[in-house]
Structure formats: structure tokens, C-alpha cells
Amino acid sequence: MSEADQKMICVTLDGEKRLLAIGEKLSALATTELPCGGHGKCGKCKAIVKGEVSPISDKERQALSDSEIAAGVRLLCCTFAEGDCEIVHLDSTSGDLVLMEGKALDQPLDPLFSRYGVALDIGTTTMAARLYAANGTVLADHGMLNPQSVYGADVISRIEAAMGGDAHPLALAVRGAIDEILTVLAQSAGIPAREIDALVVTGNTAMLYLLTETDVEPLSHAPFHVERLFGEVLRADALGLTALQGDASVYLPTCIAAFVGADTVCALLASDICETGKTVLLADIGTNGEMALVHQGTLTVCSTAAGPAFEGVGISMGMRGAIGAIDRVRVENGALVAHVIGEGAPIGICGSGLVDTIACLLETEAIDETGYMEDDEAQIAAPVVLTQQDVRMVQLAKSAICAGLQTLLKTAGVDVSEVESLVLAGGFGSYLDAKNAGRIGLIPAELAQKTAVIGNAALDGASMILLDKSASARADRIAKSAKVKELSADPVFSEFYMMGMMFSD
């Protein structure tokens, strides 16, 4: 059947009329990203669907809960249009991809709240939150960009802004965003926001300092001696949150050090790696990479400023993992084949696409093992290209992460072969191709087969604390037991870092 023969039907998408050919997937119209590539795995395209569509598939039965199926929720990537129909999204996240899902929580229930509670992760770039009912079910989730970004993309520039007199506006910005998130969560669940009586707010140390308007000066220079490491309960009104009752509680989990925060503690809690007795590495790769090693019951953590290359910043055609971003690249018959989020025309490249691209260009020998490109630029998928300077930026970023992991191992006297698992937390880690990450030296190649992805583990950990009164004490123990490895000015790290910039086989 040629395109002209295809019968068009009318789809109402969140109130807007759109045309679609019969037999097409509804995801062709959707504005949500499909991290799984439209394979019915990630659940990102969940929406309520009414009207003439294909019957529910086995894949959807697996991915959706009974109550969701009863409510008419479908996966748009598995639902085909058969006639006029309507799609209503559960929530919208401004077209930006904020990682919500983590592993399913299977845990004791003794919540910090009586009616509703919210777990919230303040990332430097994105904020993500989940609303829970007292029986432990997730009622809604929502994410948005951290509005503090206008004061600078990275932690240090925000600290500088706060020291330069913008501490109060920075606090107001993030508090306003929390109020907005709480309001949206309550709306999507159909409950009054003022019935949310407890919040667990995690984030890196700087984010919690900025939220509480604590003096950030100690975070601005070595020796980074911080007095306040949280593990505290505050009142909502003391934080100036207006969406809640004034006496609602806000728990801020314990941080480890100036640059290893409560988010890492929460990720460690959720990952459970401190309890297993195994030798396990954890990496949360973002603008700041936080890494942890558990070996013989000892926890060592470090952080390294990888830079924002994997968030698409500082790369000539880089972008965040949103619609139009190239997120997957492979080599076919000597040429690069790119996948674009949203299946439309490419407009840029995000972190996972960047890792794939470098691995592919090494395979096609467009880049040599030193990172040198014979041509000025390499085309990924018109008009998106990768320049020599982009390759250099990736070399810096990937080597910082890998060197951090290697330094943790070397300092603990652990050989990489002894590592049983490398746990990848956070958004970028979830979309990363582990084999390509090993190929380009973002992670030690030996560990590529041993990676486990745990999604937004910081948010999971915050949820665990919210749902189980005993979990905050466990998080606190993790934070207090951690040894911090300082990487800057460490000669072992320097050596790994500089030599790790190569792409050796």
C-alpha cells in the first residue's frame, strides 16, 4: 500500500487534533521520548487511550499494572490506530527527558507520612519526584529542569553566584520548583497538595546547601571543610514551601562530603551494594561523576568533575536527551546509522549517542587511538556532525570517570578482575551502551560485561527513606562509614586520567 492509499484518521492528542494513517503506531504522534526505542520496555510512552485502536498486547500486559489497564492506560509504542481515537498523557515533562523509573521497590512499609508523601531528587540539571500513597503505591511522578540553571550549568558556577549575592534568589528558584512539582503531582493524582505531609529531598551537597540557603563558602575552595551534612528534618514553612501545610516534614538525607552528597548516599542505599559483601563499583555519571567502591565491607567514594560533555554541553551539536537527539549509533556496511529520539529528523546528539558515535568512528578508523581525526569533522546523520574538538571534550570527560574508578580500585588494592559488578546509576548510565562505553574507555573495558543499570537510584533511595522509617538510619550509617578519596592532586588519579584519554584497544 503506497502512502497515498493510506487512509488517514483523526487522533485527539491531549486535546489537539492530529492526523495519522491507519495501522500506524500512536507513538508516531507522541511527544514523549522512547528511551527503549519503542520496544514496549521502558513505559515512557504510557498514556490513556480511548477509541478505535488495536487490542492490548502481551507486552503491554507485562509493562502495565492491572489498575492501569483498567484505567485505559496503553503503551503508545505498542498501540496501532484503527480509527479515530484519543490520547491523554498522564503528565508532561516539557519535552525533556527526566529519568523517573528505577527498580521496583520491594521493601518494608512504615512510612514517614500519614496521608501522602513525596520523594524528590534535586539534580544539578534536572529534578525528579514521585508521589506515594500510604500503602506504598506510586500515584504520580513528575520532573522538570532545575530552574537554577540560569545561574550556571554546573555546581561551581552556582556556588559562585550564591557567594556573589544570589543565594536567596537561588533558594527561591528551587523552592518554587518544588512547589510547582508538588502541585503537579497532586493534580495528576487528584489529591489536595496540602495533604502531602512528608517530603524526602535528596541531592548533591551543593544543591541542599542552596535549597536551605546555607553559606556555600566552604564549598568554594579547598580544603572543602563542610560543617553541615544534613540528616535533618525541617518544617515545610521553614523552607518557605507554600504548596504544603506549614508543619509538613521535609527530610534531607545525610551527605558524605562537599562533593559526595545525599544523592550518592540514596543511590548506595537503593543499590544495596553496601550490604552484599561483594566487591562492587557504583558510578553515577553526570556533570559531576560520583563513584563508590565496596570491597570487604569498606565503602570508598570519590567525585570527579567530568564536565558536562555527556549532558551534551560543550559539544558543537550536543543536546540533552530530548526529541531530535541522536541517542544510538551503529555501524552498518562501513557507514554510521543513527537512531533519533522521537523518530524524526536529527537536530543534535546526546550523551549515549556521543559514546556510540566515538566507538563507531574508532571502528571505521575515522578516529585513531589518540583521538586524532583525519578529516575536520565526521558526519553522524545530516546535519549532525562531530568535530575534532568534540572528540577532545569526550576524551577529557570519559577519562575522568574511568580514572576515578581505576583510582578507587588501585587505592583499595583491588584488581579490576575482582570486581563482580559495576552498577550504573542516573539518567545517562541508563541509556549507555556498556560495550561502547568500554570500547571508548569511559569504563574499564573488562567491566563492560558486568554492568547493571539501576536508573534514578537517588530517587529510589529517597523513596525508600520516605516509605520506611528505619531507612534514614541506614542511609546515615552508609554516609558516616564512607571513606572519601580526594582525586584532585592525587598522582595516581592524574596518571590514569592523562593516559586514559587515549582510545587504546
Binding site: I156, Q395, E486, A489, M501
Partner: protein
């Protein structure tokens, strides 16, 4: 007779062991130490520096080349001292107080050594007074300050002030560098020179020492 360009070529490829052997061979054959240094080691490092500026080679190649150069230079040092050959100049370098990030600083140091400069490495977290005292005591013509953080780069202004307070501002040049630093910042604190990369910094330091 050994061809000194062979030393240069092996240095560019980071062949420390070969460079060492060739330098020793050249010495044994009676080559002038200055020639071995100029036409062998510094020549090779100069090419690496140019390629680095043009983005053709990157940090690891500079590092291995610099290591090869240092290995060769160690053999030449006593001979050069004996024959009264002076370095092109003397500088001190360090990361400013509160900043521990020394990778960029180390790269600049290697490039400067590759230009034949004598470099006093003050390490990390160096106070303004330490910079100035080192420059006075060790007779350095240039102070080089590095900072990676926007929150620590302002300490560079203190170094300029400390040099003024010590009454040596007219005798010593102050160079600044690091990711957040730029030309405007350099001017605003009254420093003498900023460059965008390590290789240019080495060239600039040589020029300042000659001036």
C-alpha cells in the same frame, strides 16, 4: 655518527627508552650537549607543542613525549651545567590557594621545560605570598598561576597584589591560566599574560623571560 633528528622523532613518539639510549650514544660519540638538547630534545618537544596547539595531538602524547624528554635531559644536565649553558629563563608555577587541580598546571610545566625553561614547581594550593617569595628567592622572571575553579581564580589577583606589596612587581611577570580564566580577567587583575593553551603558555613564558 648519530642523527639528532632521530632523537627528536623518537621523543615525539614518546619512546623514553630509545631517547635515553640515543642521547647517551650521542654523548659518547662526542656531540655537543647543547646540540643534543636543541636539535634533539627541544626540537621534538617543539613539534609536539605545535601539534598540540593545532589539536593534532592531545594530552597523553604530550605527556609521554615530555617523559621521554625528561629522561634525555637528565643525562644532559651535568654536562650542560659544566659547559656553562644557561636555561632560556626561570619561572615558578603552581595552582592558587584553595585549588587542588594540578593537571593543567603539570601540562604547562612540561611544555615550558620543552622550551628549555627552568621551572620551579610549587605544587598545589599555593598562597600568594609563597608565589612571590619563591620568585624572589629563586630569582624567577615569571610567576605562573593556575586555577580550575571560578571560585578560586580570584586568588590570582592576590598574587599580583602580593608582588606589588613585596616591591617586585616591576621585576617579575605574572602569567595566569586555567579553564575559567580569559584575557579580560587577566587584564582586570593586572596580570601580564594569559594564553588559551599550554603550548602557547610556554611560548609566551620564553618571550617574557627574554624581554
Amino acid at each position: 655518527m648519530i642523527n639528532l633528528s632521530e632523537i627528536s622523532e623518537n621523543l615525539q613518539r614518546g619512546k623514553t627508552k630509545v631517547v635515553k639510549e640515543l642521547v647517551q650514544q650521542a654523548i659518547d660519540e662526542g656531540c655537543k650537549p647543547e646540540d643534543i638538547l636543541e636539535q634533539g630534545l627541544l626540537h621534538g618537544m617543539g613539534i609536539i607543542g605545535e601539534k598540540f596547539k593545532n589539536n593534532e595531538v592531545y594530552v597523553p602524547e604530550v605527556l609521554v613525549a615530555a617523559r621521554a624528554m625528561n629522561a634525555g635531559a637528565q643525562l644532559l644536565k651535568p654536562l650542560l651545567a659544566a659547559s656553562g649553558v644557561a636555561a632560556t629563563g626561570k619561572v615558578c608555577i603552581g595552582t592558587v590557594q584553595g585549588d587542588l587541580h594540578d593537571i593543567g598546571k603539570n601540562l604547562v610545566k612540561m611544555m615550558m621545560e620543552g622550551k628549555g625553561l627552568e621551572v620551579v614547581d610549587l605544587g598545589t594550593d599555593v598562597s600568594a605570598d609563597t608565589f612571590v617569595q619563591a620568585a624572589i628567592e629563586q630569582n624567577c622572571q615569571v610567576i605562573c598561576c593556575s586555577a580550575l575553579l571560578t571560585t578560586t581564580m580570584n586568588v590570582m589577583g592576590d598574587v599580583v597584589k602580593a608582588a606589588e606589596a613585596a616591591g617586585v612587581r616591576d621585576k617579575v611577570k605574572i602569567m595566569v591560566g586555567g579553564a575559567p580564566v580569559n584575557e579580560d580577567f587577566c587584564k582586570s587583575i593586572g596580570a601580564d599574560c594569559y594564553t588559551t593553551d599550554a603550548a602557547s603558555a610556554a611560548d609566551a613564558a620564553v618571550a617574557l623571560c627574554k624581554a
